[in-house]
């Protein structure tokens, strides 16, 4: 079974990536200005207190030992406690990350809904006015910063028209969706531009392929050809692109959550950086990186399912 061995191989590849993530986070956090001990005790601490806290946190031991302890606690699900909010970091992540995931999920969905029909339209009327207009509009969308799009949508559809709330997260699932729609649309616009561009050229490549011409010669209806042969094959590279975009999407979520005051993981990240809440920065960075790795894995598997050649 080539697919089974592909899955296994892909799962094994996660291990060095995860180790690397942990090393980078470990080093980054130790480079942060000020050390955790003075963050806890303040600047005018007594030497004896500093020593005691250092011992408590394990900071008096060698870096290698510290790293070992760090890895061990990460794998047992212990990411420390937030300095400012006084709760376990895992609890904070469990509260905030789902919001960001819902936001990026919605954004991905909106991006697909926007990009797929327009990509088909542009590809099938290649070189005509519709194609030029669609590509021009998306080119402009690609050059717009996320916070700018957000600010404009917020002003027009939130403040002026009052169709959507101007920020926050609301109560209850439907209310969440209502609150997250504008931020998700903001994120979706630039993603859909990337997907549209890629899908359009993929469709153009597939439409001219011999097997599509063959299907046409057999007299299969145009719609069936588009759905079964063109879309499926054009989607393969789009799925890969989707996986690669998840990092950009999460980065964009940091900004959108700031613009729309959404209490997600991105907002928490910015707040923790300003507040020097290292355990939270550390835990969130790990959580986000793991989220991205898992997304890569899933898109790879989905791609292999769409196109068995990917699994080799």
């Amino acid at each position: 079974m080539p697919l089974a061995s592909f899955i296994l191989r892909r799962l094994l590849q996660l291990i060095p990536t995860l180790i690397f993530i942990l090393i980078v986070v470990f080093v980054l956090v130790r480079l942060l200005p000020g050390d955790p001990t003075s963050a806890i005790l303040g600047d005018r601490a007594l030497d004896a207190d500093v020593e005691r806290i250092n011992r408590q946190l394990g900071l008096d031991r060698s870096l290698v030992v510290q790293f070992g302890v760090f890895v061990q606690s990460v794998f047992t699900g212990d990411l420390g406690r937030s300095i400012s909010l006084k709760v376990p970091v895992t609890e904070l992540i469990a509260q905030r990350l789902p919001i960001t995931m819902l936001l990026t999920g919605m954004a991905a969905l909106i991006a697909l809904v926007l990009a797929v029909p327009l990509a088909f339209w542009a590809a099938l009327y290649r070189g005509r006015a519709a194609d030029t207009a669609i590509r021009g509009a998306f080119q402009v969308g690609l050059s717009m910063p996320v916070f700018y799009i957000g600010l404009i949508l917020l002003t027009v559809f939130g403040a002026k028209l009052g169709w959507f709330p101007v920020g926050g997260y609301g109560d209850g699932f439907i209310d969440h969706l209502h609150h997250l729609f504008l931020p998700a649309l903001t994120l979706a616009l630039s993603l859909s531009a990337i997907i549209m561009r890629n899908l359009r050229s993929a469709i153009i490549g597939v439409v001219d392929a011999e097997y599509v011409q063959f299907a046409r010669a057999k007299g299969i209806s145009a719609r069936l050809i588009l759905l079964r042969h063109v879309l499926r094959n054009a989607l393969i590279s789009t799925v890969a692109l989707f996986g690669l975009s998840i990092g950009t999407l999460l980065g964009g979520a940091v900004i959108t959550e700031t613009v729309f005051a959404v209490p997600g993981a991105g907002r928490l990240m910015v707040d923790s950086i300003y507040g020097r809440d290292y355990p939270v920065v550390q835990g969130l960075t790990i959580a986000l990186a793991v989220l991205v790795s898992v997304t890569f894995l899933l898109t790879d598997l989905f791609q292999a399912w769409l196109d068995p050649r990917v699994a080799r």
Partner: protein, 275 residues
């Protein structure tokens, strides 16, 4: 599109549009004072929050500063961001990518792991984290972007060099007894560098987006500097009443970004037809 019959292919239209935008942007960036009607930082309490008019084409902000003059002066900082945030990753990535592609084997495997790890971190999150360690400001932003950005160039160059080193002329160089470094940098690299140059154009557009995003978050250029992201942040609380403070700097970002991506697309087209 008609097939070009003449031997000299016409310059692609995206390249012309993009080139004109970039040339204009560069001129504004170098000589802002020649074009700006007012001092970008001069307060005018007699003209607060004025709508666009004949005297202030883009209106004034909440300190009475002329928005047009600030948008023009911001070209200096934002074009500088586009160049400095990308030129070091481009140079470092090119050298490392060329070496990795030429050596192959272990170096390539190791590099592959680094690439995997770097793309696992959301780019913006990593840059924000690094900037927060080093402190806000442009210089630290360049460092943060450089730490991560070289990887993308290295990946492109490595793939190209790997193809080039198998070609006859590389063998010929080795037969002539040239050193490896001479073969890599004098012979392989000039043939491998074009995709990286095209990517560089896109990257400069991305750098402006990133620089203005950090400016907006308060981690990039520091107020009262005239920088588009900072200006948009300045105006965000006035969006409903004085939209012009934020909207015009945003349009400048879009226009400049378009200039870079059109140039990139046009260059790619020229290089494709050349092959």
């Amino acid at each position: 599109m008609s097939v070009a019959v003449s031997r000299r292919a016409a310059i692609p239209r995206p390249l012309i549009f993009g080139g004109v935008i970039l040339a204009a942007s560069l001129i504004l960036a170098i000589f802002p004072a020649l074009f700006a009607p007012y001092d970008p930082n001069a307060f005018d309490y007699a003209a607060l929050l004025q709508a666009p008019s004949g005297t202030h084409l883009m209106g004034t902000d909440n300190f009475g500063r002329d928005v047009l003059s600030r948008v023009i002066h911001a070209y200096t900082i934002d074009m500088q961001i586009a160049i400095f945030a990308t030129v070091f990753p481009f140079l470092i990535g090119t050298v490392i990518g060329a070496l990795v592609g030429y050596i192959g084997g272990f170096a390539e495997t190791l590099f592959g792991r680094v690439v995997d790890a770097v793309i696992t971190f959301p780019f913006l999150v990593l840059v924000i984290a690094i900037v927060s360690i080093l402190g806000p400001g442009l210089m630290n932003m360049y460092i943060a972007v450089g730490v991560v950005g070289w990887v993308f160039y290295a990946r492109i160059i490595a793939a190209e060099v790997k193809v080039q080193k198998r070609l006859d002329y590389a063998d010929a160089g080795r037969a002539m007894g040239y050193t490896h470094l001479r073969i890599i940098f004098r012979h392989l690299l000039p043939n491998a560098i074009t995709p990286a140059v095209v990517y560089w154009m896109t990257d400069m557009a991305l750098a402006i987006l990133l620089g203005s995003s950090l400016g907006y978050l308060g981690l990039g250029a520091q107020p009262p500097a005239a920088e588009w992201g900072v200006q948009i942040a300045d105006g965000k609380n006035f969006m409903a009443t004085a939209w012009w403070i934020s909207v015009f700097p945003g349009l400048a970002i879009v226009l400049t970004g378009l200039g870079f991506s059109l140039t990139g697309d046009g260059l790619a087209e020229v290089l494709r037809t050349k092959k």
